[in-house]
């Protein structure tokens, strides 16, 4: 007998706003966060756009009541801000009243500081301030966020490339279903770094104009940064505390494409399997899905593979869009960022457009939503997140009956 998983709080910081209401207002007014790189000096400045959170490290420190710039990486600070908002919006005062845990996700952890350290270390192995490297590993940001929130229960971190935070939400739901925890703060955080920017650039999958998902002339993705967290609670917590949940996580699934380390299979096998598993768990038919927040990176390969998988499962394919045209691709945070946006879709009865779309892909019959659509009854939203290593994840969020 599957137990229900409720979402009772959400928090987000991204290129389009530093909390839920400012993110919603940007979505509603079709304001993209993609722009020039300002965070670090790079050869790619003025050439490759990114979607940065429009706050300096000092501003982020101030927002979290901290001042020590070395102790907290940008990844950690973004995570603290989004996780705090999620907990506050769930009306939680004390994180120790229920069996609670924190599951975060990140792809490069404290790389923004490691880059600084490593340059000096390469010159001379006894150089480089250790304070710039102690936060390198992925667990560091999670432990700091846990301490910030006062969580002393289960604390863990996932890293499965671009599906990381969809997977932390999934594991959080499984921990509640299995009875191990009553409440989980689950999501992810990542900042834009020179490392990832140059990494994706070597793959030649960064679009100089900003990403154009599901467009015939798409030329790659746009990197973004940010953090987002959901508060997942059990039926027991919601009933006992008389809470009004924002939405329910009714289905989820992860599958592996097992085709290539970075490219998706031409038939979208992993995507197909992940969506099928999620639909099966939710007990929904494909026709029940009202809106799909696609992974839609804007790379030639992803959009074709994902599109083919959508056409195989859905007939007709429901309205869909890639909100990465607003937020950029926030890597380890992307799944959670899009989970928050999916929940906003349900809450406000709105679909947010694929901002840069103009030409249909010749291989596909489907076209994304390109204008804001309001006053809908959105009952079920499906959100996809796919990563390197063929890691494909799907989450389904549903309106509370």
């Amino acid at each position: 007998m599957p137990k229900r998983i409720y979402i009772t709080g959400i928090g987000i910081i991204s290129a389009i706003g530093d909390n839920v209401s400012s993110v919603f207002s940007s979505l509603e007014t079709c304001k993209s966060g993609i722009g020039e790189i300002t965070l670090f000096p790079t050869l790619h400045q003025g050439i490759l756009p990114v979607a940065e959170v429009k706050l300096t490290k000092d501003q982020l420190l101030a927002m979290t009541g901290n001042s020590d710039s070395c102790e907290f990486t940008r990844t950690t600070l973004l995570g603290m801000i989004a996780a705090r908002e999620a907990v506050e919006s769930a009306g939680i005062g004390d994180m120790t009243t229920w069996h609670s845990g924190l599951l975060s996700a990140t792809t490069v952890g404290g790389m923004d500081r490691s880059e600084v350290f490593y340059g000096e270390f390469l010159e001379n192995p006894s150089h480089g301030r250790l304070r710039n490297i102690v936060n390198h590993d992925c667990g560091d940001s999670t432990e700091r966020i846990a301490s910030f929130l006062g969580i002393n229960g289960l604390v863990s971190t996932l890293s499965t490339a671009c599906s990381s935070s969809a997977n932390s939400i999934m594991f959080g739901a499984d921990l509640i279903r299995s009875g191990k925890l009553d409440r989980v703060v689950a999501g992810g955080t990542d900042s834009v770094t020179r490392f990832t920017l140059n990494g994706f650039n070597t793959l030649m999958i960064l679009d100089k104009r900003g990403c154009h998902p599901f467009d015939e002339h798409r030329a790659g993705l746009t990197l973004g940064e940010g953090a987002a967290f959901l508060v997942l609670e059990s039926e027991k917590v919601v009933e006992k505390e008389g809470k009004k949940p924002l939405a329910e996580l009714t289905g989820y699934g992860n599958a592996n494409d097992a085709y290539h380390q970075t490219a998706s299979s031409p038939e979208g096998k992993g995507a197909f399997l992940a969506m099928t598993k999620a639909l099966e768990m939710s007990g929904l038919y494909p026709g029940d899905i009202d809106y799909i927040n696609v992974h839609g990176t804007g790379t030639e390969n992803n959009d074709l593979s994902e599109g083919i998988a959508l056409e195989r499962i859905f007939n007709p394919v429901p309205p869909f869009s890639s909100t990465k045209t607003y937020t950029g691709h926030a890597l380890g945070a992307a799944g959670a960022v899009e989970a928050v946006i999916s929940i906003l879709s349900i809450k406000h009865g709105m679909m947010f457009p694929d901002l840069n779309w103009s030409t249909p892909m010749k291989e596909l019959k489907i076209r994304p939503v390109t204008n804001i659509v309001r006053d809908l009854s959105i009952r079920h939203v499906l959100s996809n997140s796919f990563g390197f290593g063929g890691n494909n994840s799907t989450l389904i969020f549903s309106k509370i009956n």
């Binding site: 863990s156 996932l158 499965t160 490392f195």
Partner: protein, 383 residues
């Protein structure tokens, strides 16, 4: 109780690549590597036996380590039984072999790694800095992704199932165990390839040396635990386990439960949590035949083990294992391998020096902590 028995999770294969000659599974710590050192290196096998020859050169070392351990695990001809390959194929509901591994494909691959693919991370980062962001090639960036080990195993054997990677310090492997138990108990998976891998590079060794993690002077690893001091010795390794819902002739042991404690306040709190953990599994401290401890010879951190043993496990036989594998974030996976082999063999190898002889070998509790922050308990039983 009966339902608890039905839900047991069996360890039906193991593969362990470590600083000791453990990979072949044929001997059980009879030949040993003893070195006066502060750094134990995992013994690299001939990777061409495990990885397609065209991939050997480009594939990062941690990935090769993981693939070798995983492949050994899935084709593990455990003592006194026929090779698992044929058994796996004959098993009801198992999928056909794939990718030339000659074995059944598990329903899921769940791994843990503390630092991930650091060799490739360093390579890409170094090239980027030295060449000022020019003339970069993607291979090391692609391989630097933390889930590459689990992903490459899936790719090589054509496993389309659930594939998760946990990356949380001393909880990396433990989180993977917890997820595995949940997937098996929920019935979503019948078989899981569970594993951990961490590699040590010269640079990561050097950085952690500057942080004061290691001994200043080399020590004989085999006597590390009898000679406490400041710092420990660095290690690395990859260990994989085939977990299944059904007992097989190849079964080593059962994997019963896992628990993680984040920053506990005192050794009393840890002891209390251990007692609760055992109660949850219908056991008391008297039922534990062997306490396998994550001692690493660093007196700053080993005192917790002394206190917990004294508080809670007065009469229980105990021993350490990190003199064999060194310290790293997923070293508990070597501990699990050792416990698994002890339960199957029903004997403790001589090199694992036991305080007090156990009267039997039915339940083993593995208690480990990473730098006093991430504490974990893993419970195993004789099948």
């Amino acid at each position: 109780m009966e339902s608890a028995v039905k839900n047991r999770v069996y360890i039906n294969g193991t593969g362990c690549l470590s600083p000791q000659p453990t990979l072949g599974n044929h001997s059980f710590l009879e030949e040993l590597v003893s070195e006066v050192t502060i750094r134990l290196k995992a013994i690299d096998p001939n990777y061409k036996e495990f990885v397609p020859p065209e991939m050997v050169r480009r594939m990062g070392r941690i990935i090769k380590m993981g693939v070798a351990a995983a492949k050994t695990c899935l084709s593990d001809p455990s003592p006194d039984s026929s090779p698992v390959a044929s058994l796996t194929l004959a098993r009801e509901g198992s999928k056909p072999p794939s990718g030339g591994w000659g074995v059944g494909v598990p329903d899921a691959i769940i791994t843990g790694t503390g630092l991930g693919c650091i060799e490739d991370t360093e390579k890409f980062l170094g090239n980027m800095i030295r060449n000022n962001e020019e003339f970069l090639t993607p291979t090391s960036f692609i391989q630097s992704t933390h889930n590459t080990v689990g992903a490459q195993i899936a790719l090589l054997m054509g496993c389309h199932g659930y594939n998760f990677t946990y990356v949380h310090r001393g909880f990396s492997f433990e989180s993977a165990i917890l997820d595995s138990l949940i997937q098996l108990e929920s019935g979503r998976a019948q078989s899981i390839l569970l594993g951990a891998a961490d590699e040590l590079t010269s640079n990561s060794f050097r950085i952690q040396e500057r942080m004061g993690f290691w001994r200043r002077k080399p020590v004989d690893n085999l006597t590390l635990l009898e000679n406490p001091g400041r710092g420990t010795i660095a290690g690395e390794g990859a260990a994989f386990f085939l977990l299944e819902r059904a007992e097989q002739p190849t079964t080593y042991a059962t994997l019963d439960d896992v628990e993680m404690l984040f920053r506990p306040n005192s050794s009393q709190e840890i002891s209390g949590q251990i007692v609760q953990f055992l109660e949850r599994n219908k056991l008391t401290t008297h039922d534990i035949d062997l306490l396998l401890l994550g001692r690493n010879g660093d007196s700053r951190f080993d005192s917790v083990y002394d206190e917990v043993t004294r508080n809670t496990f007065g009469e229980v036989a105990s021993c350490g294992f990190k003199h064999l594998c060194g310290e790293y974030m997923t070293a508990s996976s070597f501990g699990l391998w050792l416990a698994t082999r002890i339960l199957r063999a029903q004997r403790i190898p001589d090199i694992v020096k036991v305080e007090r002889k156990p009267s039997g070998l039915r339940h083993i509790l593995l208690y480990n902590h990473y730098r006093g922050i991430n504490h974990s308990m893993i419970l195993l039983s004789k099948a």
